[in-house]
Symmetry: C2
Subunit: 123 residues, 2 copies
Amino acid sequence: MDPDAVSKAFVEHYYSTFDTSRANLGTLYQDASMLTFEGQKFQGAQNIVAKLASLPFEQCKHNISTVDCQPSGPAGGMLVFVSGNLQLAGEQHALKFSQMFHLMPTPQGSFYVFNDIFRLNYA
Amino acid sequence: MDPDAVSKAFVEHYYSTFDTSRANLGTLYQDASMLTFEGQKFQGAQNIVAKLASLPFEQCKHNISTVDCQPSGPAGGMLVFVSGNLQLAGEQHALKFSQMFHLMPTPQGSFYVFNDIFRLNYA
């Protein structure tokens, strides 16, 4: 497994799903998963997806600037650190954001998101 | 242990040490520690501190905007996600940055930095 390839594939899958049908992101989270979104904390796939689905915009497009990854320890997890910008439909200026994911392996050989922290980078 | 209090204390200690004597940051890392700095990868306390010490500025001041933290799993680690700006001596404009740390517990009841990822957020 090439960690850089896995993290790049994850990032592409995550944001393309977010930008087309974010209610489908639930399969990437589990009951123990955590999201901190602009300082607000949520736990569990259901609560996390409810938060993402409730964001006050319909259409958006994430453009990724950088993706960094590191193994997180003996449990086989992987840290993925993303920067980019978020274009909302009807808004002139894109919003810059940073986000980190901690991916943990599943018994099926895939990964799920255990930790997710998102912040807009205000100018 | 209150994770928010620990992460806040860590962040204050880390950046005040960075801004006054960054060669002393080595005690916060161990041999297995990883740093990804603007996409460049370093491993081990010695290599990490050598990189930080070699950065092409003498004086700087980190101003922290946000600190988010989450437990990283059963090993007792903690993820700390920071945003802020970095003022370099003699530069008019501060640089925005995001940084994440994965803190792991030591047998002595303290924490060391296992993962460290730093990115400037260019406008």
